[in-house]
Structure formats: structure tokens, C-alpha cells
């Protein structure tokens, strides 16, 4: 052994090592790559889907949090409580809604499942962002941590006015600030009392109940837009004929027929010789069917797309998409129906309100805002939603033309019940027929804004099955405006 030369072994080992070095390196990098991919995958997945996963009904970690935290409160823009959790002496927690039915749909409920803000902001409400020292102080007292609060943009005065104005009608009202996109009021009827949701639940959901108490008609309701759709026709016509739209003229004889399609004015009224402004102000169906036929279809299709038909709205909460069936193959008959907001077209009050807002705000649509900020129970701001522009839907000149047209509706047209008050209003009425067999039945629409010079409030009203917009929806809008302007 002593005389053995050790060199060959070193060399052998080096050679062997070289032989397998590549294999070893390959295995090494293969697994490093696999594990790196897994890390990236789960980190992005779990962090991006944190809230969705938490809200899943099968998760159940909500109960865990609620055993530690008290569900947070929801406040109005002026700091009034819209929803809060009250703890009894014996530790029983009850969710209290001081305004009862007034904010029922927009705030929602949280005991029989969830809806409204209670659902959308659930994650925030049941987490507590209190600092360690605050939590430690609560531990001393052996009480639970207070959950985070939601500060909404809702204005109780406007909401109450809209709620009262709607009275016993079925329908919906939404009031917004076109400059900021803030939602000031959102009322839907028939409504429910969230304080009694537990006891009334079976009644609301029974098959005999066809009222749809739990449905938020502002966002989830889909109605034929009726004459309010003429806003779209007008925008398209003015944009297509910026110089010549004023020269438009039409003779209304109460009915209008073309290619087998027949249109008549509301209650077969005859408007006689009308220009564009008058057609809009008087809401002449025959004239607008005529205008509709003259529009460039692909251009109109693009405009409707831009105005968020058949697509998503910039609204962060649940809503139904509006639909309109217009393309190159649409027949003249169908096009005439589309032009007067009948046929298969359907829209939510929210969507009509967004379009109205963009007119009021010189063509710029602000992103709708319902939650202004979220704060901890001790007032530290966790997040705040800034007002933000969503899109420019039309030129400023088109917007100002539309404003004039809509003001004429109030001054000398179908919405004359808004004329002569301390504020100037503008808008468009609609009387949407919804029953093929009974043309006398119609939903009453009004969408408009005030004051015209510097719009502060934008309102959309629908009353189901009431009759004409001018007679039923406009007075409700007026009462809300009265409350807004302090009359």
C-alpha cells in the first residue's frame, strides 16, 4: 500500500465526475426551475384572488373573523350611520339599520346571505385594521375588535327625498353628481326592511310574491328605454350631421310606415311639421323612426359600443348589462323600433343615468363612486377612492347641443312639469311600452339634470307601468330636485 501510487485514482475520479457533471447539473436546474415556477404560481394566484377566495361560501373563515371582530359600520357621506352592529349586555350582536327601508337595496343585508354594500364590502367590514395598541386595549377590556368602516357617497337627504317621492310606486330612482360620479341616492321599490330580513325572508322569497322586493332595480332592472333612447339617436345624428342637423324637417301624421314596419306616436298624437329640436322635445316617434333610418349603421353601432351597450359598465358592484341588437343585418323595421327605444333593447336605470351624466359633464363620464373611503374603527384611513374620469363619450360641442335639446324638453316639451322653478332643469322623458298585447301600458321614464348651467344633480327615474314619463316620472324628479335645492 505504501508504494502504491495514488495518482490514477484522482484522475479516475476527475474523469468520472466530468462524465456525470452534466447529468447532475441538469437534474439540479430542472428542479430549481420547477420550484421557482410553483412559487410564482401560488404567490400570484393566492394574492390576486385573496378576496374572491375569502368570499367563497365554502371558505368559512368569515365565522372565524366574526368571532374576533365586530362587523364594521357603514356611513353616509355626512357621517350618519346606515348600518351598524349593536352588542347587547349579554353579548348578542344585532345588525341595526337606522333608516330601515330607505337604504334597503344599496346598503343591503348581512344575515340571510348578503346583498348590496354589505356583500361587496364584506371583506373590509369583517376585518379589523386597528393598531396593535388599540387591539391590546380592547383585549384588556375583553371585548372584540371593531371591524373597519365604509364611508359611502350616499346623501341621506336626497335618498329620503327620492324614497318619499317614489311613494307606493314600483320603480327606481338614482341620483348622482355628474362632476364627480358620486352616487348620492339609489332607491328601488318595492323594498324591504333589512332590520326584519330574517323574519320576512320566507315572505319575500315565496312563490306567491312576484314583487321582487330584494331586487335592486337601479342596477339589476332591465327595461325597454323607450323615448329616453332618443338621446342616443340625437347624439349620433348630431355627430353625423354637425352642420346640417338644424335643417332637419319632418311632417308627423301620427304614424310612420316603412318596409312593412309601422311606428306611431304615443297615444297616436299628431305632431305636424317638426324640426329636430321639436321632434326631440315633443318626443315624436315618427320623426325619430325617420331619423333612425337615416343613420349610418356601422357608425351607430360603434357609438352604441362606446356608450357601453352590450358591454360592461364602469361599476364595481353587481349589475345587468344593457343590450341592443344592431348590426349590418338589422332590418329597417327593427331599426325603427330601436330608434324609439322599443323592441328587444333593454337598459338599466344606472346605464341611462351614466349617459345622462356624460351629457351633463360636457361629454366626460366620471367613474361611478359609491364608497368614498374605508377607515378603521378609530378613523385611520385604509383606502380612499379618488374621483376619476372614465371616458370621454362625446365632443364638448355635441354635449352642449344635447344640453340645449334636453333643456327644450323641459321648457317646451314633454317634461314641462319641471318648468318655472328656481333651478333650470334639462332631461328627457320616456314612456316605454313593455306589453306587446297592451300598448296602453307603459313604464314612465325621466332622465335629466339640474342646474343646466353647472349640473350638480343627475337623476334617472323609472316607474313601472304607470303611464307616460311626463305625467308620472317628471313630478318625482321635480320633488327630488326640490329637496336637493332646498325648497
Amino acid at each position: 500500500m505504501r508504494n502504491k501510487n495514488w495518482k490514477p485514482f484522482v484522475e479516475d475520479i476527475q474523469a468520472e465526475k466530468e462524465k456525470i457533471r452534466h447529468e447532475i447539473l441538469f437534474v439540479q436546474w430542472l428542479f430549481i426551475a420547477l420550484f421557482a415556477a410553483m412559487t410564482v404560481f401560488i404567490c400570484t394566484y393566492s394574492i390576486n384572488n385573496k378576496e374572491t377566495l375569502f368570499e367563497n361560501d365554502y371558505n368559512g373563515r368569515e365565522q372565524l373573523l366574526l368571532s374576533e371582530n365586530i362587523r364594521g359600520s357603514i356611513y353616509s357621506a355626512d357621517g350618519q350611520v346606515l348600518a351598524e352592529t349593536v352588542t347587547d349586555k349579554d353579548g348578542t350582536e344585532t345588525r341595526n339599520y337606522p333608516f330601515s327601508n330607505v337604504f334597503s337595496h344599496v346598503v343591503g343585508y348581512s344575515t340571510m346571505g348578503k346583498s348590496g354594500l354589505e356583500k361587496s364590502e364584506n371583506y373590509t367590514l369583517i376585518h379589523s385594521g386597528l393598531s396593535f395598541s388599540e387591539k391590546a386595549a380592547l383585549d384588556e377590556k375583553d371585548s372584540k375588535y371593531e371591524g373597519n368602516s365604509i364611508y359611502t357617497t350616499l346623501d341621506p337627504a336626497v335618498q329620503q327625498a327620492a324614497y318619499d317621492a317614489l311613494g307606493a310606486y314600483s320603480g327606481a330612482v338614482i341620483v348622482t353628481d355628474p362632476e364627480t360620479g358620486d352616487i348620492l341616492a339609489m332607491v328601488s321599490k318595492p323594498d324591504f326592511d333589512p332590520n326584519q330580513i330574517d323574519s320576512m325572508w320566507d315572505t319575500y322569497l315565496s312563490e306567491d310574491n312576484t314583487q321582487g322586493n330584494l331586487l335592486n332595480r337601479v342596477t339589476m332592472g332591465q327595461y325597454p328605454p323607450g323615448s329616453t333612447f332618443k338621446i342616443m339617436d340625437a347624439i349620433e345624428y348630431v355627430e353625423e350631421n354637425p352642420e346640417t342637423w338644424k335643417n332637419y324637417s319632418f311632417n308627423c301624421i301620427g304614424t310612420f310606415e316603412k318596409d312593412g314596419g309601422s311606428i306611431h306616436c304615443f297615444h297616436y298624437e299628431t305632431h305636424g311639421q317638426v324640426d329636430f329640436e321639436k321632434s326631440f322635445a315633443e318626443s315624436c316617434n315618427c320623426s325619430f323612426a325617420n331619423i333612425g333610418l337615416s343613420l349610418d349603421r356601422s357608425s351607430y353601432e360603434n357609438t352604441l359600443k362606446k356608450f357601453m351597450f352590450n358591454s360592461s359598465l364602469p361599476y364595481d358592484y353587481p349589475y345587468e348589462k344593457s343590450t341592443v341588437d344592431l348590426d349590418d343585418t338589422t332590418s329597417a323595421k327593427e331599426l325603427m323600433q330601436i330608434a324609439i327605444g322599443q323592441g328587444t333593447t333593454s337598459m338599466s336605470p344606472l346605464h341611462i343615468n351614466l349617459i345622462t351624466q356624460s351629457v351633463a359633464n360636457d361629454g366626460v363620464l366620471m367613474r361611478p363612486r359609491l364608497v368614498e373611503s374605508t377607515k378603521t374603527a378609530s378613523g385611520t384611513v385604509l383606502s380612499s377612492n379618488k374621483t376619476a374620469e372614465y371616458a370621454t363619450l362625446m365632443d364638448e360641442s355635441t354635449a352642449s347641443t344635447m344640453k340645449e335639446l334636453m333643456q327644450d324638453v323641459v321648457e317646451e316639451g314633454t317634461a314641462s312639469k319641471l318648468k318655472g322653478y328656481s333651478y333650470t332643469a334639462a332631461g328627457k322623458t320616456g314612456s316605454a311600452e313593455y306589453d306587446q298585447n297592451d300598448e296602453s301600458q307603459s313604464h314612465a321614464w325621466f332622465t335629466g339634470f339640474a342646474p343646466v348651467e353647472d349640473p350638480k344633480y343627475c337623476i334617472t327615474v323609472i316607474i313601472e307601468g304607470a303611464g307616460s314619463g311626463g305625467d308620472y316620472a317628471v313630478p318625482i324628479a321635480r320633488r327630488v330636485f326640490d329637496a336637493c335645492f332646498g325648497q
Binding site: K7, F9, N49, K50
Partner: protein
């Protein structure tokens, strides 16, 4: 105080774990070189920090004193095991042993949180395992015929699996375990070790097409028995071990590609043959549609992971117990929920570090049998982690294997500790061989010196010639050494130049006066003959040889133990 502990301990644990993993990585990079003892000490300290912070949290949440005692027991056991191991095997890879302890302690923490009773049972097995792990390297050094037992491994392993298939108990629709003397065990976990030994012994001499075919058939037998027992995850682990070890032994990429192709074909066939495979694939692709049935586990796992976020909910502050089989198959999700993604992925990084460490032990080891064994263990270990973690995060379909060392399950944890102990044994043998080389080199060096001294009466040129010869030999061996440069001064060379007239007797020159040797060193060299030579005082730097992965043991084996 309690509030602060519950809220803040998770950050301490995350920081401790992160730092630990970084240190473990740095230490891993030193494989084959000298590992830092200071870093080892810091790592033991961090292990203690993480473990204590975890138990403090559990105690703060429950205020139950039995957790304090449990913590104490675990700490004492772990520290005793680490100290004992380091003392008995100074040549061992202590970092790897500490890493194993870290992973075990993470497992104990989360199992304690999930179920105290299970944790106590796990602790018993871990204690047995850790001390068994200390005995194994000593045993392995004694047993020299491991590589000759090829077919015994295969027969024992396959027989054990067959017994489970025929007599085993059904859990979760699979036959995994059977009871011996009232103790339920999962033989497949131990057959894994036999299987790796089998492959290593089958391939260590040659991996030609004949060997590959025979091992292929025997491996297929193992895999088929497992598939019939419905233990698909383990079947996959065996299959992958075979493919990768064939690849390493043959060095042929074709075998790897063929293995991948067979894997795909097998998966395709399995998908169409077995309805439960289809269900699992469905549960992976869209668990939400079958959330009531097969998707339940995976969605609960995703809820858990997501709820924890980066830092976790904090121990005892989540609901990981909602996931079915949280302590065994879904322990990774439970860790994510309560200790956070950063902690969980530090842990996975630590597993990768262990894997790389084993891989490099395998690369540096001379004997093909042990090299293949280490490689096999590395692949089996990391692939199992890939299967379980990937399944829990919906990266791949669920296969139901455990996270080695961490998951609850006696057979799994015991088998994994044994695997790591075998790797330690291999590492220790390697270090011993380097040491024996060093010893021999030392001896040869002494011999050389003696001869040099004998030649002091000889001619200088003869002396120089011998020294040149020695230096050449050393140089050819692949490393440089200036030890002999002092004999190569111009004066000596001049003297050594052959003079005309042939050989001439010259006066003896004590060349030591021409060197930079100190008086102490000179005296030391003189003491050589009388046996008082002290290597410490000599200018031979033994560390020079450690870089060379010389394996005298190999030829030693041929001499003494060769066939």
C-alpha cells in the same frame, strides 16, 4: 402582552426562517470544503428561535402548560441529538443534520397546532428516528457488502409491497398500510430505500442496455403493484427514481426522453383506465365545479393558503384544521395559512438546499454505488416535495404523498430520517477516505524525508534529481505545491550540475541553512527519526489536499474486499 405575542411572533418566525435558509444555502455552497462551525452555531440558534417563538404563540393562545413541557422535551431532544451526532462524527455534514432537525421541528410545530395527540406520537417517532440516525453511519461503515445484495433488495421490497396489496388496510381508497403487532405502518416508505439500493447496486458496475432492461422490468413490477394498491403518488415516485437513476448511470439522454414518453403514455392510460384518476384531473382543472366532492380538499387548501397571505394568520389564529388530512397530505397549506407564504417558501427553499447538498455529495463521491444511492435519495426526496406541494397549490393534480420530514406519519418521517442518515454515512465515509489519503500522504512524505536524509551523504545532483522527481509526481497529480522549491535554488542547481570528469565525491552540505526553515522546524525534522515529529510544526499544510477528491478507499477495497 398576549396580544403582542399573538400578533408579532409570526414576523419573528418569518425572519428567523428566512435567515436560517440563507445561512443553510451559504453552507451548502461549501460542500467539499470546510463548512463554517460558526454558521452551524447560528443556525442551531435560529432553529431554537423559530421553534420557541412558535410554541410561545401556541401557549399564549391556549394558556395550556402542557405545551411548555412539550416544547422543553422537543428542545432537549433536538439539542441532544445535534450535539451527540456532531461529537460522534466530527467528519459528518453537520449542516445537513441541523437542516433535518429544522424541518422536523417545523413539522412538530404545525402538527402540535393541529392536534396535540398526533404531535406527541410524531415526537416519539422523531426521537427514535434521530437517535437511530446517529447509529446508522457507524453501522454502514461496518457493512461492506451492501452493493452485492442487488436481488435481495428487489425481492424484499416487492414482497413487502405485495403483502400490502393482498392484506393491507384501505385508507382513502388506497391500500397503504398494514398492522404489525398493533403498529400500523406504511411499508412503501421503507421499500423506497430498498428500491434505491437495488437500483444503485444494479447499476454500479455497468448500465448497458441489458442492465437497463432488467432493472426496467423489476422497477415496473414495483410500480404495477403500487398502482394496483391504488397508491399512485408513490408509484410515480418509484417510476421517477428509476428513470433518473438510469439516466445518471448510463449518461444517456435517450433514456430520460424514453422515460418521459413512458410517463406520459402511462398517465394517458391511467387517465382512461381509472375513473379516480379522471376525477383527480377534473378536481385539478376546475375544483370549483366539484367543490362538494373531489374539489373540496384542494379548494380548502387554496382558501387556507390565500387567507394566510405573506406572513400568515399567526399560529392558532387560522382554521387550517378545516382541510381534510391537514396534518399529513395538506401540511404545506396549513403552514401557509398560519405561518405565511414567505415562511412556507423559505421552508421549500430549505428542502431544495438539502436536495442540492445531497446532489453534490453524490457528484463528489468516488464509489459509484454510494454515488447512485445518494443521487436516488435526492431525486426521491425532491420529487415527493414537488408532488405534494404542487398538488396542494393546484399546480399539478393531487397525488396524496407526504411532505418528507414535515408531514405527520410515522413511516414517512422514519424512512426519511433513515435516508438522510444513510447520506450522512456516505458523507462520513467520503471524509474518512480523504482523511486516510491524507494520512497516507503524510506517511509517504515522512518516508521521503527519511530517504532524503539518507541521501544527505549522496551527491547534491542526485539529491536534487530525486526531489525533482518527487515534485514532478506531485505536479502530475494535478495540484501545485511549492514545498520543494527550496531545493531548487540556483546555488544547489549549480552544485548539482554534472561536472566534467564524471562523478565526484563532494562534501555534504546541510541545505537546511539555505532554506527559510525556522530553528524549531529544523529541530522538529531532526526529531523525526526518534518519533518526536510533530505534524503541526511542519510546514506541510494538510488542507492543501482536501480540495482533491482523492479516494484511496476505492483501491483499498479492491485489495481487501474486492470480489
Amino acid at each position: 402582552m398576549r396580544t403582542y405575542i399573538l400578533a408579532l411572533s409570526k414576523y419573528a418566525m418569518t425572519a428567523g426562517m428566512l435567515l436560517y435558509t440563507v445561512l443553510a444555502f451559504i453552507q451548502m455552497r461549501r460542500t467539499g470544503k470546510k463548512k463554517s462551525n460558526a454558521a452551524d452555531a447560528v443556525m442551531i440558534f435560529l432553529l431554537f428561535v423559530v421553534h420557541s417563538a412558535a410554541f410561545l404563540t401556541i401557549y399564549a393562545a391556549t394558556m395550556d402548560p402542557r405545551y411548555v413541557f412539550f416544547w422543553l422535551f422537543q428542545t432537549v431532544t433536538m439539542v441532544a441529538a445535534i450535539v451527540l451526532f456532531g461529537t460522534i462524527y466530527p467528519q459528518s455534514n453537520k449542516t445537513l443534520y441541523i437542516n433535518v432537525c429544522m424541518l422536523l421541528s417545523i413539522g412538530l410545530i404545525i402538527i402540535t397546532r393541529l392536534s396535540y395527540e398526533k404531535a406527541v406520537r410524531q415526537y416519539d417517532i422523531v426521537s427514535v428516528g434521530l437517535f437511530l440516525g446517529i447509529a446508522i453511519p457507524a453501522l454502514m461503515k461496518k457493512v461492506r457488502y451492501l452493493k452485492n445484495l442487488t436481488y435481495i433488495y428487489a425481492a424484499t421490497g416487492a414482497a413487502a409491497l405485495l403483502v400490502v396489496l393482498l392484506l393491507g388496510q384501505v385508507t382513502q381508497g388506497s391500500k397503504l398500510s398494514y398492522s404489525v403487532f398493533g403498529v400500523s405502518m406504511q411499508p412503501s416508505e421503507f421499500v423506497k430505500i430498498l428500491f434505491i439500493f437495488y437500483l444503485a447496486s444494479a447499476y454500479y458496475e455497468s448500465a448497458d442496455i441489458r442492465h437497463v432492461f432488467i432493472t426496467g422490468v423489476i422497477s415496473a413490477a414495483h410500480v404495477i403493484i403500487l398502482v394496483m394498491s391504488n397508491d399512485l403518488g408513490t408509484a410515480l415516485v418509484f417510476f421517477v427514481a428509476y428513470v433518473f437513476m438510469t439516466f445518471l448511470a448510463s449518461g444517456r439522454w435517450q433514456y430520460l426522453l424514453a422515460g418521459a414518453a413512458r410517463g406520459l403514455a402511462g398517465s394517458y392510460a391511467g387517465y382512461h383506465l381509472f375513473s379516480h384518476v379522471q376525477v383527480r384531473v377534473q378536481a385539478w382543472r376546475d375544483p370549483w365545479s366539484v367543490i362538494d366532492s373531489m374539489g373540496y380538499q384542494i379548494t380548502q387548501s387554496l382558501f387556507s393558503i390565500s387567507y394566510g397571505g405573506l406572513f400568515g394568520a399567526g399560529l392558532m389564529q387560522g382554521t387550517p384544521d378545516k382541510i381534510p388530512y391537514a396534518a399529513s397530505d395538506f401540511i404545506f397549506a396549513a403552514i401557509c395559512e398560519e405561518m405565511g407564504l414567505i415562511f412556507a417558501f423559505s421552508m421549500i427553499a430549505l428542502c431544495l438546499v438539502c436536495f442540492l447538498d445531497i446532489l453534490w455529495i453524490s457528484l463528489n463521491f468516488a464509489d459509484r454505488f454510494y454515488r447512485f444511492t445518494a443521487f436516488g435519495f435526492a431525486v426521491v426526496y425532491i420529487f415527493q416535495i414537488f408532488l405534494t406541494v404542487g398538488g396542494e397549490i393546484k399546480f399539478i393534480p393531487l397525488t396524496g404523498v407526504t411532505l418528507p420530514l414535515v408531514s405527520y406519519g410515522g413511516s414517512s418521517v422514519l424512512s426519511t430520517i433513515i435516508q438522510f442518515a444513510i447520506i450522512e454515512a456516505i458523507y462520513i465515509m467520503q471524509q474518512d477516505r480523504i482523511k486516510s489519503f491524507e494520512d497516507r500522504f503524510e506517511r509517504e512524505e515522512r518516508e521521503r524525508r527519511r530517504r532524503t536524509r539518507e541521501r544527505r551523504g549522496m551527491a547534491d545532483h542526485e539529491k536534487t534529481g530525486r526531489i525533482r522527481q518527487l515534485r514532478e509526481q506531485v505536479k502530475r497529480s494535478g495540484y501545485t505545491d511549492n514545498r520543494y522549491d527550496r531545493y531548487d535554488t540556483p546555488e544547489i542547481r549549480k552544485k548539482a550540475a554534472p561536472k566534467s570528469g564524471g562523478y565526484k565525491e563532494t562534501e555534504f552540505i546541510d541545505d537546511r541553512t539555505n532554506t527559510d526553515m525556522t530553528e524549531d522546524e529544523t529541530a522538529n525534522e531532526d526529531a523525526y527519526e526518534t518519533g518526536g515529529w510533530d505534524p503541526e510544526l511542519d510546514d506541510i499544510d494538510l488542507n492543501d489536499y482536501k480540495e482533491i477528491n482523492y479516494d484511496p478507499g476505492n483501491d483499498g477495497q479492491k485489495e481487501h474486499h474486492g470480489k
